[in-house]
């Protein structure tokens, strides 16, 4: 059972991520709604992985399954955590059984879905993010974005851009299904109907509430198939400049002489220094005009903050702002 020559029990050298599951001391495997009390038992449990996990954590504990089916766990080692490879999960499948309500079991791996359909199961998996055609994995430990330079398959990119126009995070399950959360759906009746058909206990688990007014629903985006996501080290401020960056710096200077005469403006600003507040109203509107014209000037100091994943909301509820809790294992 090897991955890139890594054997079970070896340190995991790649980025730490994946669907989060909990092994209890009696060998049961559970999925839990973040910090909530609702939980679902996975039946059947992946026995081999449970064995390997119990070798490292005698009373059980949490493990993650990447989008390629690699099972990982973190083991405390003094003040640090070691990341350990637990083996490949060949086919993670089965039912998720609500605690005390077995008749409402749902499939871990729903099938027969089309892009845009409600995802009628848990919202979890390896978390990645995108804006436009830029993709990355965010490390909860270093707080850095690790780029995915080769992106994702084109149909996945297009569906993400369609259902999540402004970008944001999405999840990839161990069998390659890609899902994301949407507050507004292009065809809301369709997902709402799909949602209403589910048993209430399931609705309560997959309905994810962001703010008082915003409910987000998970939708199916597509399948990665055999595509492997390649994650690079994050850029450092002191890395050598790429050819593109060099060219950017050059491009500003080219044509610098290209200015049109707008002499009135020039004189207004540079010669009229003692006009005081007498032109207040006029100047106010001019300032605003200038600001609008240069709207990128406003935008520059406010990069988009992506906050569209339940893990982020929970951290906020806890009084943290996400970045403050790098040890949060779920943020992988």
């Amino acid at each position: 059972m090897k991955q890139d020559g890594i054997s079970v029990g070896d340190p995991w050298p790649h980025h730490y991520r994946g669907l989060s599951l909990q092994v209890s001391p009696n060998r049961e495997v559970w999925w839990q709604l973040y910090q909530g009390t609702d939980r679902l038992r996975l039946n059947p449990a992946p026995e081999k992985i449970v064995d390997h996990l119990l070798d490292h954590k005698r009373i059980g504990g949490r493990f993650h399954v990447t989008e390629q089916g690699d099972a990982l766990t973190r083991v405390e080692n003094g003040e640090e955590y070691d990341q350990i490879y637990l083996g490949k999960v060949d086919n993670l499948d089965g039912e998720l059984v609500p605690d005390g309500a077995e008749e409402y079991s749902i499939d871990l791996q729903p099938d027969g879905l089309e892009a845009g359909d409600l995802w009628p199961s848990i919202y979890d998996g390896s978390r990645y993010s995108f804006v436009g055609d830029r993709f990355w994995w965010h490390s909860g430990q270093s707080h850095k974005r690790h780029p995915v330079p080769t992106g994702l398959p084109i149909d996945i990119e297009q569906n993400l851009q369609r259902y999540k126009r402004d970008g944001g995070s999405f999840r990839i399950l161990p069998w390659g299904d890609v899902i994301t959360l949407v507050p507004i759906h292009p065809t809301p009746e369709k997902v709402q109907n799909q949602f209403n058909k589910l048993p209430r206990v399931v609705r309560n688990i997959i309905k994810l509430r962001k703010d008082r007014d915003v409910e987000m629903l998970p939708v199916y985006i597509g399948s990665l198939g055999d595509y492997q996501i390649e994650v690079k080290d994050p850029p450092s401020l002191t890395d050598s400049l790429s050819a593109e960056e060099e060219e950017s710096l050059n491009s500003w200077a080219q044509n610098l002489g290209r200015t049109t005469a707008r002499s009135t403006d020039t004189h207004k600003v540079s010669t009229d220094t003692d006009s005081g507040g007498s032109q207040k109203d006029k100047s106010t509107s001019e300032t605003e005009r200038a600001s609008k014209k240069n709207n990128s000037e406003q935008k520059d100091t406010k990069p988009p903050e992506l906050n569209d994943d339940p893990v982020d909301w929970i951290m906020e509820d806890m009084g943290d702002v996400g970045e403050q809790n790098p040890n949060q294992h779920d943020s992988t």
Binding site: W136, Q141, S142, H143, K144, R145, P147, P234, P235, L237, T238, D239, L241, E245, S248, L249, S251, W252, A253, Q254, N255, L256, G257, R258, T259, T260, A261, R262, D265, T266, K268, V269, S270, T273, S275, G276, G277, Q279, K280, S283, T284, E286, T287, R289, A290, S291, K293, N294, S296, E297, D300, T301, P303, G319, D320, V321, E323, Q324, P326, N327
Partner: protein, 296 residues
């Protein structure tokens, strides 16, 4: 340790031409503003201070005394983590939730996120980026300290006022800054932004097409010189910060971006007056209390 938090009582301009004395730990009765940093845990280096813009992240040791002060005041339920600001007058500010802030009864708004003055910055945060440059022989240079989330952000109006804006709030500086604005106007024809960092350095955004005709050669020359200097001395971080600034302000096209131009230190203008926005509308405090990062 290269920086410390100092227990200075500061004078903060408020309405009706008055100043109010504010002691460390007390609510801050002026706009929440300045260079933006966060206190975070780093697996490798323990508790650090972080500068960040999207994928660009740098960590250094926090100023001495800062974490203790944040914790004792109840920041982030006593963990001391979260974001801070440093004004052009080196005032270190944070916002503390009223639920856990020990002095919330003194605040102008007693619920939500309350802006708090923590003390002043003495020394330099140890970033490997030159945010406190010295150019004794230069009138103009490219600003290549942090080019995002750095410095107080002011607007220059066409009637020569400095205005601090947030949402629909527009607060004027308590002082006149005619020298500073004159210098600004030399390099940019119309109203726009200027930034003042915690060491008193001023930089402006210069779109290529808005350099006044008489100054284009000078700007071009300075930019060329800076690039040669940065290349020769392998100033990769500086080049990257400028490159990113051009790209972002140009909406992806760096040739249309705004060059960050360093125009001098506050000590060179208006007898060294530091611009101070005066809250002229108390509603500001209510709006700003709704979010930890809000109000700047």
């Amino acid at each position: 340790m290269s920086a410390q938090v100092t227990d200075n009582t500061v004078s903060v301009p408020i309405a009706d031409n008055r100043d109010v004395s504010v002691e460390p730990g007390q609510p801050y009765p002026a706009p929440y503003r300045g260079s933006q940093y966060s206190i975070v845990d780093s697996r490798k280096h323990g508790t650090v201070i972080e500068w960040k813009y999207n994928d660009l992240v740098v960590h250094v040791e926090p100023p001495g005394g800062l974490i203790d002060r944040l914790q004792s005041l109840g920041k982030s339920r006593g963990s001391g983590k979260g974001s801070i600001r440093i004004t052009a007058d080196k005032e270190i500010l944070t916002k503390i939730n009223a639920d856990s802030y020990v002095h919330s009864h003194h605040a102008p708004v007693k619920s939500g996120w309350i802006p708090v003055y923590l003390g002043t910055l003495d020394g330099h945060l140890d970033f490997d980026i030159d945010n406190d440059p010295s150019f004794p022989t230069r009138d103009l240079w490219v600003w290549s300290g942090f080019t995002f989330n750095h410095g107080e952000r002011w607007s220059v109006s066409n009637n020569d006022q400095l205005i601090w804006t947030w949402k629909n709030y527009r607060f004027y500086s308590a002082f006149e800054h005619s020298d500073l604005i004159n210098k600004y106007a030399t390099y940019r024809k119309i109203a726009g932004r200027l930034y003042i960092n915690e060491h008193g350095h001023v930089y402006v955004n210069v779109p290529r097409d808005e350099v006044p005709p008489g100054e284009t050669e000078m700007v071009e020359q300075v930019y060329d010189e800076w690039r040669r200097y940065a290349n020769r001395n392998n100033k990769r971080a500086a080049m990257r910060l400028v490159e990113r600034r051009l790209k972002v302000t140009g909406d992806g096209d760096p040739s249309e971006g705004h060059l960050p131009i360093y125009i001098g230190h506050l000590s060179e203008f208006d007898d060294g007056l530091i611009p101070k926005p005066v809250v002229a509308d108390e509603e500001y405090y209510i709006d700003a209390s709704h979010e930890e990062g809000g109000g700047y």
